[in-house]
Assembly symmetry: C2
Homo-oligomer: 217 residues x 2
DNA sequence: GTTTTTTTTTAGATTTGTCTAAACATTTAG
DNA sequence: CTAAATGTTTAGACAAATCTAAAAAAAAAC
């Protein structure tokens, strides 16, 4: 078993290696985990000793198969708890991240299987992220970022790739929530902002925001 | 806010001072918390610095008002999670203690209030222990231990004062679960074991077991 | 009312995860 | 291709919670 802290490192390394395929850099981990590069190096060595990551000095880290399995399990726990918090306890989607961050470390396989069953085996969490099954399998989400769409394109909002409370509250206020249909009107050449139709109304979405909204065409 | 470890100490001190009214001894804490007396002394000093306990060298500790409030809050969280685990996730009453022991340290007042509401504000946990309300108030349970009853007495099983899995499984097997009606037939002079009627059948309960079963007449 | 036993505390070491400051490696720029 | 800038690691220190061994206080036994 891993400690609370080790689990956090594994999870962060997992998330950071989702986008890029390369090894994850020390500084990137340090920034995400709110610590110093030196501390990251220390922890990476520990994880390498436990064969949870592959590590070569100055070359960054990659998760080993065992490390990846552990990380996916943490992600599974996190997302199931988020579903619980939103569906059963009526939290808003922007309020659940920090609490799930604590709950994900509760150490009981039985608990998670029963929670999964209680929630009727959800396939995705309140932000549209897929929930790995018991064995760690899940569909990679094949959605397109809103900023990649062209005028006249239509699609459904399926998820977000940024989970900060501020971002989610902004979406909420604009009505850009999961399941909504949108249609691109035009893209502003100057700042990349996107004008689109949402429920019969036209709104403008900045490029920065659009990058974090996931669309199914 | 207290650390995970500090919370555990407060909880243990609270439970140990439930029965006896005197100050709690270092060794008693050490035994419960599975550690050494020296470690307990260190932690007690820390808690005394934070004014969560009153402590005089060699005289044991008592909870301060602030310490008691913190402890009761932990007990509240623990018992609410136990209700959740049994009622919603279908755990058995002998399986929930260890998981609740972890869940009780999740740090969110909002979470607990919403959980309480979701569970419809339960008054007691699966072992019959009362659940303190948001402000820390709860009825001291005024039940009688089974070994204090006399022949011909009737009563309902309302709770237990021992939470080990082994004990609870034993009760389960004998059918001695919460809400059941019992009637004392006779008490064996020799070993203090009690013969009683439970659902039309006569069974014998050892004195040791009877001491931990709480009855409402 | 000493002596013995038990309980508690102190002193100093250990482990986990962190930090700062300095050294080292790699990448980027000129 | 060397020099500067950036990124990473090492060395040594620190805080939290624990431990062992020894000293000190309190309680129990005689």
């Amino acid at each position: 078993m891993q400690s609370f802290t080790e689990e956090n490192y594994l999870k962060i390394i997992y998330h950071l290696s989702q986008n890029h395929d390369e090894a994850v850099q020390t500084n990137a981990i340090a920034e995400k985990i709110q610590t110093k590069a030196a501390s990251v190096t220390d922890m990476i060595k520990k994880l390498a000793d436990k064969e949870l990551v592959d590590y070569k000095k100055y070359q960054g880290v990659k998760l080993s198969p065992a490390g990846r399995a552990a990380a996916i399990n943490i992600v599974r726990r996190h997302r199931l708890w988020e579903v619980f918090l939103v569906e059963k306890l009526n939290f808003k989607w922007d309020e659940v991240h920090d609490i799930a961050e604590e709950l994900e470390h509760i150490n009981s396989a039985e608990l998670i299987e029963r929670l999964d069953e209680f929630l009727a085996f959800p396939k995705s969490d309140p932000h549209g992220d897929p929930i790995p099954d018991k064995s760690g399998k899940f569909d990679a989400l094949a959605f397109i970022k809103l900023n990649k769409l062209k005028p006249e394109d239509r699609g459904l909002i399926m998820g977000v790739s940024e989970h900060s409370s501020a971002f989610l509250r902004h979406l909420e206020k604009s009505g850009l929530t999961l399941g909504k249909m949108i249609k691109i009107i035009e893209i502003n050449d100057f700042d990349g902002s996107i004008e689109l139709t949402l429920e019969q109304k036209n709104i403008s979405v900045s490029r920065e925001v659009a990058k974090h909204i996931l669309i199914k065409l």
